[in-house]
Symmetry: C2
Subunit: 458 residues, 2 copies
């Protein structure tokens, strides 16, 4: 399939400039030289910069420092962070220590965002000790193969970015750069990939090296060419896979520039929140607390788990949840619920044992005859039912109660909530500047193709 004129046009905008490439190369060469000459530490550039598949303006540099595999993990971490700090001191810049599977240094040197990551220098992907050790193998696999497909990879990355499905972090649950590249390689080009993806189904398996050794449960399986036991698309959620299918279908039937255009996100003012709630007739509740001091990939799944636990509690207590979402900020994190009803009547039915279960039935009756329930015990479908008074008739009281901590919250989330408490806000009071984009996307939620169709219609 030949490239259309506007795809060429997109490419002329997303291809990195020669100056950019030169700048990145100069900086990375200097850091690698410094590490080798002053610290006798071999290192390599990995990621899209190394593979030449980064889009213009992506100033992320990943430098992996290679350590012998027999070095204990604690030493690897300590020495790696130490070396990273030495780089920052030498070149001048700022740095933040971060933790993925093990610690690394996220530095800002000149105008670049540079991850300085210690890893083990193993000879085969089978010997890796942690996920980061695998990255150099990916780089080595892609570089010789991507040659005729760099433009296709750039289109795919820009397409997924504009569609909101780029990124394998836990918040996005989308396509990593490496996954984009493998798909382009597998299908032999961007347009070929789009045409096939329009017909994907969950359960799809792609195995470039035909070396799969086990089955995978994720909706899309792309067996890592460097490791038969790993699914490169493991982070891709069903819904993000579907979003990509939808985008591919929409693009195939009516290709346009809009599929590559990244818009600055919409944000809602406080009164837009008030207006949206008035139109919907629902109530909005947020609980917020200090963000636990860990990377998003640790905290986001915990926020989601906590959100599900609290949602179940709300539903069990009679508050009907339409939708929920969560947001992790630098300082505070937020779990949000939209409720169809935020009060419930005092009466609640409590289901007792079958009447024919003599012992339990007797205990149940004796207990509730004395308790002065609102009605019952009476018999319904062979069981006892009693109508009693609820503990919580208002959502705000339930969400403010420490009963929340009894649910299966994420570990660090529970700790933050237990130690610092949490704030419950309601309706327009949920709004603050930090949440203006999050709230807009909550109320204006739509699939990527729908968003693009709407923009076309405007």
């Amino acid at each position: 399939m030949s490239r259309s004129p506007f795809e060429e046009d997109i490419l002329s905008r997303v291809r990195p400039t020669p100056e950019e490439v030169e700048h990145l190369r100069t900086i990375s060469d200097r850091i690698i030289a410094y590490l080798m000459e002053c610290h006798r530490r071999p290192s390599m550039v990995v990621g899209s910069v190394a593979r030449g598949t980064f889009v213009r303006g992506d100033r992320d540099l990943d430098i992996f420092m290679l350590f012998p595999p027999d070095l204990p993990r604690d030493d690897l971490a300590r020495e790696g962070i130490g070396l990273g700090r030495a780089v920052v001191d030498y070149f001048g810049g700022t740095a933040v220590e971060k933790y993925a599977e093990h610690p690394y240094l996220n530095a800002r040197i000149f105008d670049l965002d540079i991850d300085l990551v210690p890893c083990y220098h193993v000879v085969s992907a089978r010997e890796i000790q942690s996920a980061v050790d695998r990255t150099p193998f990916h780089t080595r696999y892609i570089i010789p193969r991507i040659a005729g497909f760099v433009d296709d990879a750039l289109l795919m990355k820009q397409f997924t970015k504009a569609g909101g499905v780029y990124g394998s972090d836990h918040m996005t649950e989308g396509f990593s750069g490496y996954l984009c590249e493998l798909l382009v390689l597998y299908y032999g080009g961007f347009n070929q990939l789009i045409s096939k993806a329009a017909c994907w189904r969950p359960g799809m398996v792609i195995d470039l090296e035909n070396h799969m050794q086990r089955s995978f449960s994720e909706p899309l399986v792309v067996v890592d060419p460097t490791d038969p036991n790993r699914n490169v698309a493991a982070a891709l959620s069903l819904d993000q896979m579907c979003a990509f299918i939808e985008l591919a279908r929409a693009y195939e039937s009516e290709p346009s520039d809009a599929f590559f255009t990244i818009h600055s996100p919409v944000s809602f003012t406080r009164s837009q929140v008030r207006l949206a709630l008035a139109e919907r007739g629902t109530s909005l509740y947020t609980i917020s607390f200090p963000t636990p001091p860990y990377v998003p990939d640790t905290i986001v799944p915990q926020l989601r788990k906590s959100m599900e636990a609290i949602r179940e509690l709300l539903e069990r207590m009679g508050f009907s949840v339409n939708r929920n979402d969560c947001w992790m900020g630098e300082d505070r994190s937020v779990i949000l619920f939209e409720l169809f009803n935020d009060t419930v009547p005092p009466v609640v039915r409590h289901i007792g044992p079958p009447v024919t279960n003599g012992d339990n039935a007797g205990r149940f009756i004796r207990k509730y005859v004395e308790k002065n329930p609102l009605s019952g015990p009476f018999i319904e479908n062979g069981r006892y039912i009693v109508e009693i008074r609820r503990s919580y008739t208002e959502a705000v009281a339930l969400l403010s109660s420490t009963i929340l901590l009894d649910g299966s919250l994420g570990k660090h989330v529970r700790k933050a909530m237990a130690e610092h408490g949490w704030e419950v806000a309601r309706d327009a009071d949920c709004w603050n500047e930090d949440l203006s984009v999050f709230l807009a996307s909550f109320f204006e939620r739509s699939s990527p193709a729908v968003r693009i169709m709407r923009m076309g219609g405007e």
Copy 2:
């Protein structure tokens, strides 16, 4: 098991007086003689009066007029009703024509309630043409066997009456007199029956003549000794069977007079209804319409069916029903719903096709992109979801709408509602004098043993 002193005491109150027996015999003899002498029509007394097992004050006389089996049904009905009217004219009284499986005359002669029922005089229960033809066989089966158990049968009837489980009509769904007698015969006495019934389980089968020929699906099966294909307990609902099990268990563990005491029913005033609703925090709705001109056993199941259909509609439209009930009066019938919420927010989620179903997904998206929904379409668990505006946000609007007639209502109920319309009342306005007992039993609903335990505690 020997009879306890208070059981003897109960018996002295429920045994018919000699005057009563004499009076019933005199009247029935005169009617039977009149039918034979003036119309050459053989007839017989059936029911508990014939079997000597009626409780004091039960002034119901069932006289069955026997016609040859080759008479066409229409003639049987016409001649039967004509003969009945002749009886009423001759003795003086009033009469109402009623329809069960076929027409009969319900007469008031002297101070007795007399059913004058035409039936076919068949020689074996296998040849019966309708349910009423079976009744004479029941009478002939019981009379020779009940001799030593008349007092037990009286205790059983009084026990089930006081417990609210006596009567095989569709409203009660309880124990018929014939069923009470068969159970007493089977277990060899009232106390023996109570002791076994305390351990009954649904699925229980009793077959006095060991001649069952097919399986039955009802919770209690008592094979008719006069017809192996009939379950005498077919009308008994699971919940009324459970109520009897509960009563038996409670009586066995703490026998008392209270289990035989019939209290006049509690009734609620308008302000008691208001108070109960305030305490429960729920809303009450009734729809009422003219009672269709048929016997309760025809209309009550239709009211229940209609109630279920409307309940499903309410739930589907977002109104959460706690309980419902129905009531059939002489003039008007009522279906009642207690709602946890009687308003719902305008927003409702509408679930679309799976994203991977290309054709449907495309149609769905195109439809809703133009429709300006509140949110979406967006993707959730692989399907499209769109949040749109509800048609009905208030229960009163839904219950007043002709959309009710689209549900699977009972035939005569639908006709009455379509022809005469229906009234919707809310909360305390649901109350009227006719419903004062019905509403009290709705709010003070409890199983019979619980009611008796509470009375004991007062």
